[in-house]
Amino acid sequence: MSTQPGLAFSQAPPFSLPLRFFLTAPMFLIAASILIAFYPEALASRWTPQALALTHALTLGFLAMVMLGAMLQMLPVVAGSPLPAPRFVARASHIALTLGTAALLAGFLLGTPKAFAAGVILLLAAFAVFIAAAAISLARAASNATVNGMRFAVASLVFTVALGIALALLRAGWENAPIIEGASAAHVGFGLLGWVLLLVAGVAWQVVPMFQITPPYPPRLSRWLAGAMFVLLALRAFAPLLPHRGVILLDAGLAAGVLLFAFHTLNLQSRRRRKLPDITLDYWRLGMASLIACVLAWLVAQLWPAWAKSNAYPMLLGVLFLVGFAVSVVAGMLYKIVPFLAWFHLQAQLQAKAGTIPNMKQMIDEKNLRLQFRLHLAALALLVAAVAWPDALHMPAGIVLALSALMLWGNLSSALRRYLQHGGRLA
């Protein structure tokens, strides 16, 4: 393989490597919905074991699962720099992330130290393998706004994992509430606003203009947002040592970054050249609206300290950010990536003539895409309401989210089924 940057963009990984991540992820979304349906505690406060299990089912099992698969696929295209040893990295990180997340959830729910320890070790292995490979690929990559965003996202992932391990150790023995609170705030900050948001934004710089044919993002935004957010997050990690005003100022900076990204994305999408209905567009708009709602919830908390201290406030932020923003944007991306890859690999393998293989829109039934989106929307609305009334609404919210997740899995699987029916190979 050439080590010169930009020369190796031919090597799209085999379909089965990213696909395993994309088809495993909805399983953890189903697991998350089962937790919601069975345990009202999961939505009652962010610190209950069920809420911690729920959060990690969403962040590790669904989001990180898709994001690792997507980076594996996208690095050759956007950076001209594939992951080294892609087969090993994909297989090892996928299996370790799957088993590690399952063990961690069991550890939270059952309180068994062995399951918890196994989860932590497997997750450390999964991320160590992936981060090492991604770091090599990103170091070789020709720099652009997306590569820059990915570099800060991966750096944030390093801090998220390190803080997660520190929290696991603290939980295992050393009880010290202020340190645990400070470390978990930094863990959540780097995980959600660093790894998740900066990766989504980095990918958005390229895919938002590309899917709907819009003008590009302003170069000043795409060049500086990731670095600025990362610096704010790094300073924010020292919150326990900072004056209260300083922390609010840092939070305001982060909120401004979130708003800049969300409003620019909505603005570009409103200026799109392709005006036909598109499920990915609907998902992205819902995602951006949820980000804006997160900032509004944060503003209300600044003006109304009693609510800021309530259990409902962090739960609402979590529901809006994770289910409203991240799951939506990721589902919208999956509905482009999976049908496209199914078509692309089928075409390349069969050297198919025009019209002989299903096109992207024939890979997943359009009606099922719409129905799945509506279920997701209903699940989000129920979850927001369930934050206020967990006892009354956790069951319907969990059931509707489960149906939506099941249908997401079914829709993605239908692309695989058509790929196999037409003679596509996975080995």
């Binding site: 020369l7 899917f211 050249r273 036909l276 496209f340 025009a354 096109n359 024939q362």
Partner: protein, 146 residues
């Protein structure tokens, strides 16, 4: 003097514009206009691919000695695009909206990720590799018949 990246990048945008206009007309079953716009898009694409395959890629391969590298992948994707454009042409002739939109959605993904690779990597590499001969190559590309 413009660069390969600027010249070919703006040609990508021009093709995108025609693509979006033709797709919108087809989506609205405005077939007279759709066939006309699709014809313009098809011609613009044929011209763009010809500029690359007849002038830019051979010059790049000769200069870098890489004939089995990036340009080979680009040529392969050009063939995939031509197949999808043929699907769109058949659908436009038949007035079949869902066939047209299915092929155009697929082409958009293929074309955009292809353009990303060219604009992020291949064109800047070509600009560097060609150096002072860039103007001559741009001139020959402009001369490729429309």
């Amino acid at each position: 003097m413009s660069t390969i990246l600027e010249y070919m990048g703006s040609d990508h945008r021009a093709c995108d514009d025609l693509f979006a206009l033709a797709e919108e007309a087809a989506g609205n079953k405005n077939w007279d206009s759709a066939r006309d716009l699709f014809g313009k898009f098809q011609a613009a694409m044929a011209h763009h691919l010809a500029m690359e395959e007849e002038v830019l890629f051979p010059a790049f391969e000769e200069r870098t000695g890489m004939s089995a590298g990036p340009t080979q992948v680009m040529r392969m994707e050009h063939e995939q695009m031509r197949a999808l454009i043929a699907d769109m042409a058949a659908a436009a002739q038949a007035g079949n909206v869902s066939a047209y939109l299915g092929a155009s959605e697929t082409l958009n993904m293929l074309m955009q990720q292809h353009n990303l690779k060219e604009e992020n990597m291949l064109y800047p590499m070509a600009d560097r590799a060609l150096g002072a001969d860039r103007a001559a190559v741009l001139h020959s590309m402009e001369a490729v018949s429309k």
